[in-house]
Amino acid sequence: MVYSNPVLFDKSVTIVEKFTVRQDCRKILIISAEPKEADAIQQLIDEINGQTEYELIEFNDETQLSHVNEILDQQKMGTQLYISAKWEDAVSIFAAAIEAGFSEGEIQTLISGKKKRYVYCLKCYHLQEAAAEETDIVCDHCQISLEIGPFFSRERKGYIGYPYNPAFATTN
């Protein structure tokens, strides 16, 4: 694992609402780990329309997912990856793809259900989950008030949480 590798977070550039077929590749590899999204996959295959080679890999349980490294490692340059999964699975498939040598620009990820978001307390360096709409939060660990900023750290795996004193909160 290289520290500068991208990680999946709620605003990752790899996350898409809908798959789009790109022309600048020789092969499309589809990893489908969420049976509920079968329609989206079928739509993608229809859109590929036999113009580009594709391979569809379906995972139905955890044990199959453990083979994902092997499959990714065997790919050649010119392959683009399409991931369809729930959040937790997407995180591990994405990490495995980066480890195999895919770059963020060659991956499209379709998330089923909720994405997760984390905040990093700059007072005590504790990481905690925050709901998508939250702008302020109290640190579970040191109880300080945190304003959630827009900056994300790959190293700390969360958004910046600015500690502030609510008694002096100013509006500007």
């Binding site: 290289v2 020789r26 092969k27 050649k76 340059m77 040598g101 895919f102 770059s103 060659e106």
Partner: protein, 324 residues
């Protein structure tokens, strides 16, 4: 390694590598340790020939962490501007010259790099010598594809065979069974491969286009050229500089960078062959005739910039306005 700026060295050893290639070993005059460097680095050499100073860039071929000496390998090229001929015919053991610190405009890739593949034609092997040393030290995966006319013309052949068994693929064109180095091997490289090309402009162009057609993303394609691509006649033009409030005329004889430096303008620069981007200046007005091989094709239109060491005003333009 004390002072910044240039380093004074003397030629300690000259080795005839092949019929046309000589290797020169340079030692520091002050006997201090030289700076270590990174794979792919080059130095600028400044050789005094009477009143004239011949400035040329050469890739280093000595080990990146050997700080007692530097080595460069030069191919004698009778069609070039005369730098290599001077080095071959005039430079003797004991001669002194100045060199720059090692600079690297051709570094190894890092991101997603699972495997590195080098494609060298002729003297284009030089930057790869030090890149392979670094990768070996780090235990990383790589392979070399290397084209030369014959085994005898192939610099470092014995060394490479012995040092990197199983990793080198040679292609000799003037033998009984000629073998041509072509881009097709790139179709088979695993995901996470980076390809590096070094050789004549035509070879680099062929390999770049092939890599793109195989779906290589642009960040995985790396190349180095030794000379400015010859792209049409040099037209005269004038530049107006907004920061220094000067006007500088550029003649048919010189590059924009040369004219700026002559006029006393502190114009940034490094490689002087349109490959590193150091000489980039913002263009406020006027159309540029881009002659670099630094920007990607899409970028030239969207950015209002000029590389002063190689690009010029478009034929139709008399004047460019630059932020300098």
């Amino acid at each position: 390694m004390k002072a910044f700026g240039k380093i004074e060295v003397y030629v300690g050893k000259i080795v005839q590598e092949t019929k046309y290639i000589k290797r020169f070993h340079l030692y520091p005059v002050d006997r201090e340790l030289l700076p270590a460097f990174t794979g792919g680095s080059h130095i600028a050499t400044y050789v005094k020939n009477g009143a004239e100073t011949i400035e040329r860039n050469y890739s280093l071929v000595s080990h990146p962490t050997d700080r007692t000496q530097y080595a460069i390998a030069i191919r004698k090229d009778d069609h070039s501007r005369g730098g290599s001929v001077y080095w071959h015919d005039e430079i003797k053991v004991g001669d002194r010259l100045e060199i720059s610190w090692p600079k690297n405009h051709f570094p190894l890739a890092f991101k997603a790099a699972k495997h590195h593949v080098f494609y060298a034609a002729g003297i284009g092997i030089t930057p790869f010598m030090t890149m392979m040393e670094d990768l070996t030290a780090e235990g990383k995966s790589f392979e070399l594809h290397y084209a030369a006319r014959t085994k005898e013309d192939c610099a470092f052949y014995d060394y490479l065979m012995a040092k990197y068994p199983g990793k080198c693929h040679f292609y000799f064109s003037r033998t009984e069974i000629p073998k041509k180095m072509t881009p097709v091997t790139m179709a088979e490289h695993r995901i996470g491969s980076h390809v590096y090309f070094c050789g004549p402009a035509s070879m680099v162009k062929e390999f770049r286009e092939a890599a793109e057609s195989y779906g290589y993303p642009s960040y995985a394609i790396h190349f180095e050229l030794f000379a400015v691509a010859d792209k049409g006649p040099k037209n005269p033009f004038v530049v107006k500089l907004t920061n220094s409030n000067k006007k500088v005329a550029v003649s048919e004889e010189e590059t924009l960078l040369e004219a700026l430096l002559k006029a006393g303008v502190q114009a940034p620069h490094s490689c002087k062959v349109g490959g590193c981007g150091s000489c980039e200046v913002q263009v406020m007005e006027g159309e540029v005739d881009h002659r670099d091989h630094f920007y990607k094709d899409g970028e030239r239109g969207s950015k209002k910039v000029i590389l002063t060491c190689c690009s010029r005003a478009k034929e139709s333009e008399k004047e460019l306005v630059l932020e300098l």
